[in-house]
Amino acid sequence: MAPAAETRSAAAWTRKDLLGIAELSADEIRTILDTAESFREVAERPIKKVPTLRGKTVVNLFFESSTRTRSSFEIAEKRLSADGLNFSASTSALTKGESLVDTALNLQAMAPDLIVIRHAYPGAPHMLARRLKAGVINAGDGAHEHPTQALLDAFTIRQRKGKIEGLEVSIVGDIEHSRVVRSNIHLLRKLGARVTVAAPRTLMPVDVESMGVRAVHSIDEAIDGADVVMMLRIQLERQGRMAFPSTREYFNLFGLTSERMARAKEGVIVMHPGPMNRGVEIASDVADGPFSVILEQVANGVAVRMAVLYLLSGVRSEDGGEG
């Protein structure tokens, strides 16, 4: 057996839940990313499975539909030999009209080990985490946070650029309604990158500079000198109101095209959390082009989620507690 010193990293993971990036330390973030490195290798084996979470029950509670994130978690759970249970808004498994608290208490009765929740309202994962013994993983709560997305984005950046510190990262799109951007801002800043957000005035939230970012209203300004360009999906229609007159105008003003890419730094990478609106926020030739790491993000998503499931499954708590 290896001596004790080897089995503990600088920041051993002790939180019951992963609710957001805002409360994590840089060391905790690095622990997740380093652990994810080891899990990447599992995808390259003939038998893509390890017995690590054998006999553990993971509940996927998706109040908002999502193919991408949910299947990524499902694959991660299967590769860890965990038993995954899926509850989604579209199936009758989630009773209409049942309060979140009641759903949580019913789940508790089934004694899951971990719960992955995606919900339309900020704070919903926090409500569950307070009440349940199980560890809660936030897979997206309204416009608040999407921690595993930011983690896989950081993993991808680190893989391609070797580091995050000192990089110029620009995030472009509907900043106001994006949980991906909030989690990314927290994470990138904690690891020492400089972040610029770009959006039309109607899609930029109030006081966003208070999060420690530069805010601009022009995509050209944002791309200028960027090491990483992250495009967000644009949803023009929100609650029956148009934030922008048309997709064509949006693309002309804010779309990522190869001409615009010329302003970026050499070695720039283009990212997108998906799903993409080709021809709206990003031109096809950029999405499929040499700078794009979009498909790597997806692959890395499984490894990062395996790391998160692995780390959280090692935390025991006597009662529900703040992670």
């Binding site: 057996m1 004790a4 080897e6 993971w13 380093d34 290798e41 003939p46 017995p51």
Partner: protein, 186 residues
Amino acid sequence: MPPTLEPKKTLLDSKQIRRLVRRIAGEIVEQAGGTSDLMLVGIRSRGVPFAERLAVEIEAMEGAAVPVGTLDITLYRDDLSTIAPQPVVRETKLGQPIDDRVIVLCDDVLFSGRTIRAALDALIDYGRPRAVRLAVVVDRGHRELPIQADYVGKVVPTASDEHVEVRFDEVDGATDVRLFTREEEA
């Protein structure tokens, strides 16, 4: 394992370790009848320098390089439900397919046998070796599973609350095997 242990004595010094590595290398090659299908797999972490030293000796003897892989068995441990927080996982890198090969697992200390059990489970997820053998620097007894080593540096009877530590100067700055005992409470 707790850090308050005091080293009671040195069981093997660096010269003795060099000699047993040479001996074991010879035994491995003798039993395999050559190096053609051989592969050494060091179990993280101190099994790795052990495997590398064996590979150097085998190459010197036979003039042929033997591939060395590293195996992290953390994900296959049987005690993950009882320890907290999760131990750090390091990379496993075998480097080549293991089907039909003669794998020699290399570890520093053979104790309960559970590490080797986990290593066997891990190997099976990578393929189907022709044979798996085990080389250890020290066998300290107290087996909890029916596991035995094929090649042993030294058999050392120990008390179960004692601790045996193997060091290699490639990673630890010194090469020796030391026995630790629990400090007497005053």
